[in-house]
Symmetry: D2
Subunit: 175 residues, 4 copies
Amino acid sequence: MITILAGTNRPHSRARRIADYYRNLLTELGDESQILDLAELPADFVATALYANAGTHPEFNRLAAMLDASAKVVIIVPEYNASFPGVLKAFIDGLTYPSGLQGKKAVLVGLSSGGQGGLLAMAHLTDVLMYLGTTVLPQRVRLPFINQDLNAEHGLNHDLSRQLLREQAVALLAS
Amino acid sequence: MITILAGTNRPHSRARRIADYYRNLLTELGDESQILDLAELPADFVATALYANAGTHPEFNRLAAMLDASAKVVIIVPEYNASFPGVLKAFIDGLTYPSGLQGKKAVLVGLSSGGQGGLLAMAHLTDVLMYLGTTVLPQRVRLPFINQDLNAEHGLNHDLSRQLLREQAVALLAS
Amino acid sequence: MITILAGTNRPHSRARRIADYYRNLLTELGDESQILDLAELPADFVATALYANAGTHPEFNRLAAMLDASAKVVIIVPEYNASFPGVLKAFIDGLTYPSGLQGKKAVLVGLSSGGQGGLLAMAHLTDVLMYLGTTVLPQRVRLPFINQDLNAEHGLNHDLSRQLLREQAVALLAS
Amino acid sequence: MITILAGTNRPHSRARRIADYYRNLLTELGDESQILDLAELPADFVATALYANAGTHPEFNRLAAMLDASAKVVIIVPEYNASFPGVLKAFIDGLTYPSGLQGKKAVLVGLSSGGQGGLLAMAHLTDVLMYLGTTVLPQRVRLPFINQDLNAEHGLNHDLSRQLLREQAVALLAS
C-alpha cells in the first residue's frame, strides 16, 4: 500500500488531480495505493494538533495514520512562493516523534504555474525528509506550467511529464 | 518602525522571547519596533484566510498590515524539522500579492534546541523571501542550543549570541 | 565600476557571451563595467593558488583584484550538474580573507540548456555569498533553454529574458 | 567494495584523515573499501579534464574509474565557504555522462572548523547527487568544531561523532 500525499489543503487542487493521476498509474503498474489529501485536515489543526496538542486530535491522527500503513510515499508538492506549501509543512510539524515518515521511501513531484516546476520546493522538502529519516529517491519530477498541461478534458496533457511520472513510479516500486 | 516577526504560533514560544529581546535591543539603538507574534493568528486561518479567501479575514489582515507599516523586518525563525515552521510559511502564503514583504529589507535569526541553529530554515526562507522581492541582509544569526542559552532568570545568556544580534541589528539600521 | 563575473573557465562560454551582453546593457544604462572571465584562470590554480598558497599566485591575484575595484558584482552562473560550476567555487575558495566579495552588492543570472535556468545553482551560491558578507539582491534571473535563446546571429533572442536582465541591472544600479 | 571520497585536494587534509577513520570502521564492520583522495587530482585538471577534454585525461580517468568499481560511496565533505569545496564539484563536473555516481547509494559526512558541520555543504551536494541519479541516504553526519575533535594523538576524539558515523556506516551496508 503506497500513500500518495496531495500536499495542499486547497480544495479541489491541481495537486489532488495529479494524485488521482498517480493513483491510476500505480494501479496500472499493479500496486495498491491510497490518497491522503490535506484538504481533509481539520480547519483549526495548527491550533489544536501541533506542539502541546500533538497526537491528541482524532481527525488529524486519522490522516497521520495513513502514513503508518505505507512503506512508500509519493508527495505531490505544489509550489507556493518558491517553496512547499506552509500547510504541508505544518502537517509534518504535527506528526509525533518518530515521524510516520521515518524509514520510508519517498518520491517527490513538484508542480507550478510558472517555469520552476517546484524545484526549490522539492529541494527544501528533501532537507526536511532526510532529517526525519526518509530516503528520498533521486527521481524528482518537475511539472512546470501545470495550468497549461493539466486540463479538465485531457487530464495531464504532456507526454514527457507522463513518461517521467511513469519512470518515477517504476523506480519507487523497485526500491 | 521595524516589525519583528515571531515565526511560530506556539504560545509563549522562545521565538517570542527572542523577539522581545530584539525589541529591547532596537530600543537601545534608538529605533522603534513592534512585534508580530504568529501566536495571534486565527485558529482556523489555513482554512479561512488562504487561497480563495486571501485578503478576506479581518484578524489575519490586521496582522498582515503590520508588515505594511515597516520597511524593515526581523524574522525570528525557530527550526522545526530542519526548516522553518509550517505556520510561518502558511502566513506568508496568505499574504495578498504583491506581498507585504516585497521591497523590504529583512534579517533572519534562527533558533534550535539542537546544534544546527536554524541554518537550513534560514536558507529555505531566504529562497522564499528573494522570490517575494525582499532583500535579505547577509548577517544570518544562528542560535543553536537555545534551550540552554535562553532561560527565565538570565534571558539570553550567551555573550557571542548577544554580540551577533547587536551587529545584525546595527547592519539592519544602517541598510 | 561594476565587475561582471563569467562563472566558468570553459573557453568561449555562453556565460561569457551573456557577460558581454550584460556589459552592453550597463553601458546603455550609463555605467562602466569590466568582465572577469574565469577562462583566464591559471590552468593549475587549484594546486597553486588555494589553501597554503592562497594569495601567492600573481595571475590569480590579478583576477581577484578585479573584485576589489568594484562595489557591485554581476555573477553569470551556468548550471553544471544542478549547481554552480566547481571552478567558480574554487575561485571563491582561493580568495583571501576577508573575501573580495565582502560588503558588496551582487546580482545573479543563471543559465542552463535545460529548463531549470540555474535555479538551484543560484540558491546554493546565495548561501555562499551571504556567508561571505555579500548582499545578494532578490532579482534572480533564470535563463533556461539558453542553447535555443542565445545564438550567433541574433544574440539573446528572447524578449522576456532581455526585459528581466534590464530590470535586474536597473535594480543593481539603484542599490 | 565501497569508495570513500575525500572531498578536497588540500594535501594531508582532515577530510583524508576522516576517510582513513571511516575505512577502519568499514573494515571492523567486515567490508572492503578504498579511498579516493582528491589530493591526487592532476594539478591542471580544470583545464585538461573538463568540458571538451572530459574523459581524455588518463590520470583523471584513473580516479574517476574508482567510482565505477563501487555501488556505494561515502563522501567526506569539508565545508569551504558554507558549501562543498569547489574542487569536489569540479571533479564531479569532469565525470563523463552518465556519471560514475548514477544509480549508486551514497552517504555524506560534513566537517567544519566552525559550528555548521557542513550542513549547507551536504544539502547542496544532495541536490547535485540527486540530479545525477544517486540515492543519498538520510543519515547525514555533521562534524562541527573538527579542529578540536580530531587530533594527532587521539584521532576522532568525540564519542557522539564516532557513534553517528558507525550508525551511518551500518545503514550504508544494510542499504
